[in-house]
Subunit: 345 residues, 4 copies
Amino acid sequence: MKVGIINVTGYAGMELARILYRHPEVEITSVTGRSAAGQKLGDFLPHLSALDLTIVPEEDLGDVGVAFSALPQVASMETCAPLVRQGVRVVDISADFRLKNPEEYQQWYKAAHTATDLLQEAVYGLTEIYREPMRTCRLVANPGCYPTSALLALAPAVKEGIITADIIADAKSGGSGAGRGLGLMYHYSEANENVQAYGLDGHRHLPEITQELRAIAPGFQPRLTFLTHLIPMTRGILTTCYAPFVDDRFQRSKNPKAELLELYREFYRDEPFVRVVSTPPQTKHTLGNNDCVILPHLDLRTNRLMVVSVLDNLVKGAAGQAVQNMNVMCGYPETLGLESLAVYP
Amino acid sequence: MKVGIINVTGYAGMELARILYRHPEVEITSVTGRSAAGQKLGDFLPHLSALDLTIVPEEDLGDVGVAFSALPQVASMETCAPLVRQGVRVVDISADFRLKNPEEYQQWYKAAHTATDLLQEAVYGLTEIYREPMRTCRLVANPGCYPTSALLALAPAVKEGIITADIIADAKSGGSGAGRGLGLMYHYSEANENVQAYGLDGHRHLPEITQELRAIAPGFQPRLTFLTHLIPMTRGILTTCYAPFVDDRFQRSKNPKAELLELYREFYRDEPFVRVVSTPPQTKHTLGNNDCVILPHLDLRTNRLMVVSVLDNLVKGAAGQAVQNMNVMCGYPETLGLESLAVYP
Amino acid sequence: MKVGIINVTGYAGMELARILYRHPEVEITSVTGRSAAGQKLGDFLPHLSALDLTIVPEEDLGDVGVAFSALPQVASMETCAPLVRQGVRVVDISADFRLKNPEEYQQWYKAAHTATDLLQEAVYGLTEIYREPMRTCRLVANPGCYPTSALLALAPAVKEGIITADIIADAKSGGSGAGRGLGLMYHYSEANENVQAYGLDGHRHLPEITQELRAIAPGFQPRLTFLTHLIPMTRGILTTCYAPFVDDRFQRSKNPKAELLELYREFYRDEPFVRVVSTPPQTKHTLGNNDCVILPHLDLRTNRLMVVSVLDNLVKGAAGQAVQNMNVMCGYPETLGLESLAVYP
Amino acid sequence: MKVGIINVTGYAGMELARILYRHPEVEITSVTGRSAAGQKLGDFLPHLSALDLTIVPEEDLGDVGVAFSALPQVASMETCAPLVRQGVRVVDISADFRLKNPEEYQQWYKAAHTATDLLQEAVYGLTEIYREPMRTCRLVANPGCYPTSALLALAPAVKEGIITADIIADAKSGGSGAGRGLGLMYHYSEANENVQAYGLDGHRHLPEITQELRAIAPGFQPRLTFLTHLIPMTRGILTTCYAPFVDDRFQRSKNPKAELLELYREFYRDEPFVRVVSTPPQTKHTLGNNDCVILPHLDLRTNRLMVVSVLDNLVKGAAGQAVQNMNVMCGYPETLGLESLAVYP
């Protein structure tokens, strides 16, 4: 199958190229870029020189079965909507089709949604939750990196009703999540040997997490505080979630750790890319691969749930999950092209 | 005044040497070490070669007015207790005299306390809180790096009674806090480009934070969840604290941000080393100096307080605060020798 | 084909597991370790939990067609020699079969060689140079990471006789080359934000480079100064080589850069894993894959060659090249299982 | 004495502020910036908030005894020249007054020199070499970070005539040397976990090194190859120099290491900021202080000198040396305000 990568020059785009290069059922036939259009891909991005392609403008995407958009928001919906209408299956890595409510979109992204007709049919691409509707859809809204991390950490607890709505999600991310665009915060000498919180007035991924937590457990109204931190590494997100248990079930349990672990393991029993563990996971355990590793834990002193989840923001948090979703959409085995182990150390 | 550094070969010890070297009122007359005893300080630690000293065993500490102990716990109380009884003023950087309750000490440190007579008279060395009793004491229990960070972040809110006891403190630390001892978790190739949570079953700094929060507001019984994370940098701690407001005071306020900021600024009005800010602080803002920088913030959607504090774990979190405490104990100006700006970038 | 990894618990061993996991023609049937024997591989190394294997002692390697040894030197020859004699094809990643002269081995490794009969038949595993004899051999001495980097940088110039023997090779390496064993030099807080030269009295990789430069151009007697530096990153080696040109050929050339580039490109024309480039390569261009990227350059002011080469020390510098060599030995396509693009950024 | 910092908003400028803040004989009375003019220094650079100053435009520098210029080249000479003519002593950290030959300046900096009358009187600010003329000068051309490192490494050998002119200087630098200006090469995700050579066609610091080597030993005509590498750290330069010995003096010596070491130690005997050592220095040994640490070594196999030097590019390589030079110009003790030990680890 022919596939195209729209905006290959960003980090998510080039990561798509890396993953799809080893996918046995697809061929990358076009890659687009704006300022770099006309250049050989390998001249612009030397590590991709094995792909003998020229960067083209978006209008020259050509005939593809699936298009991946790694464009920034707003630009992405403008490019994706016509493609979908022409019958191309699209996985959109931007935020444009994630929020179901166009007013919420406007509020957080400061732009009017221009393809509201596609909003409802777009499937939110958290594969573990939306696998079934995805099989027949034509547009996948690939989740944000932080929401993937937070939702996979919280889904079992919310679904099983063991926690209250008072959730704190404290996320730590490497710099690649912010993309290849320059900024003082991401200037090497500023970001190295440094850590800071950012987005304190509300990160755009917050409404996405809230929307999906509600969907997991109808009636659940999360009172979520979500805070992100930039730490000095390139790839990886670790999210720590905290929430009170609804009752004293675990305090009464003879083996609360095992009981909690079993609840999580049951939830993700057949998932190829979610691993529930009993020792602290490290982002390095997922570097370069599509895994999300989750440790559920309990603080019996305070009767709170603590969950730690890790993933590679460019893989399970972006390009890897996009390929996983393409596999589901197209009827390929879900793990095809994604079988790699983490690059460790 | 002559001062001695016990266990100069650890990170806190060598940081004491760095700071005291520029202190105009003291002279470092002895530095001790165990395995390195007999070596020239500059041969063992080349960056200290300007200090023309030989590392001696502890028993050769000699005649000093103040001794700083940077020994590990247990070893520290065994060395410090006799010194105090001989009339030497001691600042103990270890955990040995921090917990007032010897049973709690035993529970967390797995050792019986051997100097319980000194436990009550030891002053907990969070200078901003215990400045007055410190002026006349002979033994200071220098706080842990995490507790300094968490307590300074929470003290105003707890003291003023604006938050409930349901506190989450999520801390991120560089590797130097774990010291110079080798371990796989701190092996470069493992710790670089990686983040992980650790101490999930309870970090030893938890009871210290709890004890001191109770002292700040008698009757306050914190239900604290405290979790630490190792991030890939050498120095620095950023702690993010979350707690519900007790009432809707800030939701009713016309200018809640300013009101919260003013509350924090008032609390730390005359403090030379605590800076309350209105934009996100970075650990790099405190690299190598004795500052703790604090951002109080509020999440109005959920009516929660969020506080971010940063400091250099080896300075305000260890050696710098120890010198600050020595200054108070000895009647020097509190900032003497500590006037440096951060090493930025 | 069944393969075994001897000493999977080191960095080269676990990297072999990562690469072989995606190799379509082999199955990893056994992995050995000493202190970890008896443990599930995924319990000891969580990122390898997809491999459902138990770590066994070396004597339980079992029936395999190819064995990879990632043991330290001395231990490796003691384990590999009997395997070779039993008919198992062996790729030895240690240094034990690299130096043809057992006295030189003894001099540099401070141990008598115990399998001198195999020394001569072992093929030095720099695939680009020794591909032909490798096809029929039973023992490959996989090159060191630094020698791979330096030899691929220098081979065209030495072979074509354009430089004198006065060679300087200045190498910069990440910490993973030193392995997983603990040491103060590799303690995170020491290695981070730091760079140092090491091995000034002679690095063990020097005789290996010298031996092979002589083999490339019989009669060439290199006067090589080789110095290594530890830089704060996990993976990657960049080696910069300097040597005077033998004559003024390039100073007389109308287009010396193009002429030099063409000489290098011709030498590596059909090589799948060596890429000759005209802009400065970065180690990140090879992170996680088997490429070596080389920039030949000239300093016309001084009439000297400068060559910069980069590779991933654990891939082309160890496990990747080992798999490349196995492919050649066993008649598989040379690139099988090694087709991946670099993990960038 | 009142001093002003011109362009405090760059890394050299803010480092000047840090160092001068603790200098007992000076008071920073003005700091300038262009785009940030009008802002409080502490609002723009929070780590400098202890300095209660407002950033002003250059024309409001005011009445100062010494001005430090941390402007980029060209802009710097245009600002510095009038100041010098008005009688202000100036330390110029830019490259504008380093090259004595205005044509060479034009060739490397692509701009005509606009203050050639001051070129000859400007003293090259390598304090160890030009201390005497500096005492009475009114304009110091502070050396580049790389030249400081290379020249201090080579000066004893060149002065004593023990090496030939065939010098290779291979330098490794952290990212702060490139300043605070944004660029893809210094984007965190690109620079982290990466190393690359740059400036292969000739770095601007090369003519400066060559000019000064000639001055050290009249008649010496260096054939210097100088190559720079960007490594993933913020501060620090390590330069490795290689050159053939002129004769077999050290090969005939009974104790060549000691002889070489003694030659270097003698050269720097009374220097407060140059330390000659016998074990490999680390950039971390100089983090934040004004030291340059040098290891001379010999490769007896090839009869070559190897010298490794380390320094902090923002201190001895920029702001620290500038303050050292101010001390000399103004008759203060040379070490005043610069007595700090390295921030280690």
